[in-house]
Symmetry: C2
Subunit: 530 residues, 2 copies
């Protein structure tokens, strides 16, 4: 098993991972990672999942972390391998997902040679890592990993990156002791709860802006009670990492993407209580629009930050309101927009709205929805409020192409739950290799390509910037036709069966049928303009 | 054209690029880059090339820089967009290609809001950038770009990265003055030439290790003369950025990849003269193998570094030897291994050796070969010495997946020359989106997938580490079957016609036919083990 009688550094790392309950590794290894490949091979318990591009590894780790509530490992090849994964580590950081990256590195004695793959790994890792360490002693690598796991497990999750020089991986390792108990999130002091309670009882319009675990299962009875007692508005942040949603759960509206739509939503309220969400800001800075949506005229109450124990805070707030007898002080301003399903006449051409409605209507209970539909789904996601209960995932970091990788991680974390991915076509091409891993692992993922043949957001932003008829060079940077991508051919080529649909009836028939089947499937949904 | 009567910052940048002779921009823009999209649209002269993933942009810029000898622009979307391009900027840095990156960024006033796409762009850019600046004043952006171009134009090339906040792009810009004359590379002092000359004349075995412009066209008559006069060995570094190669050019052997093969090649010589190549090191650090190949017993003469004027140095060395009458002092030790084409019996199964030989035999004069064949071509590239004269490109940085993007850049830089890409299958999946850009731009690129169904290098390295029969979890990290990738289906789906071949005759017939046609084509060459 090893050259030393005992275990080597690589083996100590895999054993330490197992001791802490980590059992999944999204990997694309190379020469420097061979000792870890051997250790994964020889030690039973950690499932390696090969991804054909590192962005698939890190995006999968994001999805896994959101659904499993514990980190997956990634295994990446030096600086360039990490670099390919940075964009979706950025997304994972914004989603507050727990992730532990293992980055192979040249042997310590070889680093001065400036070999071709040598680079400044720390500089690449720092922007996305809350915890970053370079292994320095082979017998301490297992302890390094435990530290990485602890750091990543700050609820809801952070990103740890451990750099592992090759010579340390093959030098003697040391079996780690039992992992320490992970810390609880900080409790919310009673003064903050009292402040929120008093604001809710003072009669002026108030809303709670929800993020992080405020959108998880446990928080929802408290949210329902708070609304019942006070009529408070419940608004989800624009891009929730994970939102337990659907029939039987309290109706929560979603903050729109564009500032000219989001600002009026919040302007109705005198008081905004932040519960797991940071103070909302514009996704981009547009001239004449402020960065922060909440104005100086409004009162902001910071009930709980994204890493605080927001569930307990909401429960205590509900309790405190109950004791005071509550009263419906806040006018009901936030009624989520109508979520009646549109009349789905058969054989109508598909639009983003019709597609979203059909997916929501057919969603099986317990499904996981990964929505990277961007311009095709963004205005229509209220339909999911009327869907069967499900986990709804979005993309808090804005690095496009996350959808399919994230679905892989979610499916591996929750093998008994179907995953439905709404995937914008332009973004989907970033990580099209994901389809191969879905096929290889037999994952129950139904991918719906929202096929509008372009980066429609670029066109929309050109319009917003005042360009109504862009010229040929600008159009060449936003349309993805010429050639038209044959998603069905690409998908089949990567091992995932697929069909193309153009009408409401076709989409509904195919989706209804395929949701009864295990394994991956892709539907290329050709969309007309709304 | 702009709100100010004059030009805005974005327009000043595009005009400055044109003034410096830059006319190509590999782009994947988003909201923060809209002003540059508008400027590209409104100002005639810079060709935007849309790539469906930023790694394709940067890899294309690498290939463009090597073939055009001037930088292309890339246009990337904030930190995550840059991150997706970092791996091939790493390769470009190792290839010493000129590249100028334009990175969009949030408006200066919006950065404190920590919006979703905010990240530490400098930290991501620094490992790959010789020059790095954040634009700070809108009227100085054009000057910033000129500085970036000058910095990138240090021969053979460097990487410049300019970060461009959105508000500066739409604020008033200033037309730049004429670009300053670019600096010449430093001349080599006569003492270094005399030292090399004396070593070549002293009778002990000597070799010149060639890199950078020592492998370009201009240097080759001098190399031929030097060898004629002294019998010196001529050896190319293991991964040349660009090597003008083929019949009629001096035979130059290539340093092997694995240290156990490379060290004996160099050990035959008492003196190693470095001409455009750094002192050679092992690609990875293997236990028991030194980092540096040249031993303390050998004499190293640093004639010219990769950024020095190595062509003039070699010409002066040849001249100086001629004056001294020269003498064939060095035994001819370096005869390149036999490059006779193997007997290509018809209808034999393809192997890496046979495939490489067929491609070399059929290569049209003036072709560009991008060789990312890795294990399939690495041992057989001497065949290209017998091919028609061509430019031969490899991957000096080791970040896999460069092949197809690099071919795009080469084809755009040299529209009249056919490009043939030897693309390992595992690596090719990293940047499979490249095929779409080849189709869209109608590029004359013939891509040959070296299809051995796996990351064969991982298996080889497992063997080298002593693992003769890896278990299932290890095998799952090196084979790329289950499912088998249908490269023909994927390629057609992205707009590039394709066929699968399994025999010598099939490959030769298809390649011969397709080389007569314009536009892209893909050949999925199924290889048997050697």
């Amino acid at each position: 098993m090893t050259e030393f009688g005992g275990i080597n550094g690589a083996e100590s790392i895999i054993r330490a991972a197992l001791l802490s309950g980590l059992d999944t590794c999204f990997a694309n290894p190379g020469t420097t990672e061979i000792p870890l490949v051997r250790a994964l091979d020889e030690i039973e318990g950690v499932r390696p999942v090969l991804c054909l591009f590192e962005g698939v590894c890190t995006g999968a780790a994001d999805g896994y972390g959101r659904m499993a509530n514990r980190p997956a490992l990634t295994l990446l090849h030096l600086g360039p391998g990490l670099a390919n994964g940075v964009a979706y580590l950025h997304d994972a950081r914004r989603a507050r997902s727990p992730v532990v990256n293992l980055i192979g590195e040249h042997a310590t004695w070889h680093q001065a040679a400036d070999a071709p793959l040598q680079s400044d790994i720390e500089s690449l890792a720092r922007p996305v890592s809350a915890w970053l360490r370079r292994g320095a002693v082979s017998t301490e690598l297992a302890r390094d990993l435990q530290d990485a796991i602890i750091a990543a497990s700050v609820k809801p999750g952070r990103i740890s990156t451990l750099i592992l020089p090759h010579d340390l991986l093959i030098a003697p390792g040391l079996l780690p002791g039992a992992p320490p108990r992970l810390p609880d999130p900080p409790r919310i002091c009673s003064e903050r709860i009292a402040t929120a309670r008093d604001a809710l009882l003072n009669g002026s319009p108030a809303a709670i802006l929800l993020g992080s675990h405020a959108l998880r299962e446990r928080a929802q009875p408290a949210l329902a009670r708070i609304r019942e007692l006070t009529g408070v508005g419940l608004i989800a942040e624009a891009f929730p990492a994970r939102w337990e949603r659907g029939l039987g759960r309290p109706a929560i509206s979603r903050l729109p993407y564009f500032p000219e739509m989001a600002v009026p939503v919040l302007a109705r309220y005198q008081t905004i209580i932040l519960a797991g969400a940071p103070s909302p800001v514009s996704f981009f800075g547009y001239p004449g629009t402020p960065s922060h949506y909440i104005t100086a005229d409004q009162q902001t109450i910071d009930l709980a930050g994204p890493e605080d124990d927001v569930e307990t805070a909401l429960e205590e707030l509900a309790e405190s309101l109950q004791v005071r007898g509550g009263k419906s002080s806040s006018p009901a301003l936030d009624k989520p927009s109508s979520t009646d399903f549109p009349s789905l006449d058969p054989d109508r051409p598909l639009t983003g709205r019709r597609m979203t409605a059909i997916v929501a209507a057919l969603l099986p209970p317990g499904a996981i929805v990964m929505d990277e539909g961007h311009t095709s789904t963004g205005a229509h996601t209220a339909y999911f409020q009327q869907a069967a209960p499900h986990s709804y995932l979005t993309q808090p970091g804005g690095a496009i192409g996350l959808g399919m990788p994230c679905a892989i991680g979610a499916a591996i974390a929750c093998p008994d739950r179907p995953v439905v991915t709404l995937q914008a076509d332009g973004s989907g091409m970033y990580t099209v290799q994901s389809l191969w891993t879905m096929a290889r692992e037999g994952l129950n993922i139904k991918t719906i390509i929202c096929n509008n043949s372009g980066y429609q957001i670029v066109g929309i932003e050109m319009l917003r910037a005042g360009v109504t008829s862009p010229g040929g060079r600008a159009r060449s940077l936003m349309d993805v036709v010429g050639p038209q991508i044959d998603w069905v051919g690409v998908s089949k080529g990567l091992g995932v069966p697929a069909v193309r649909v153009e009408t409401t009836t076709q989409l509904a028939d195919v989706l209804r049928r395929e949701l009864l089947e295990p394994g991956p499937f892709l539907i290329d949904a050709v969309l007309e303009k709304e």
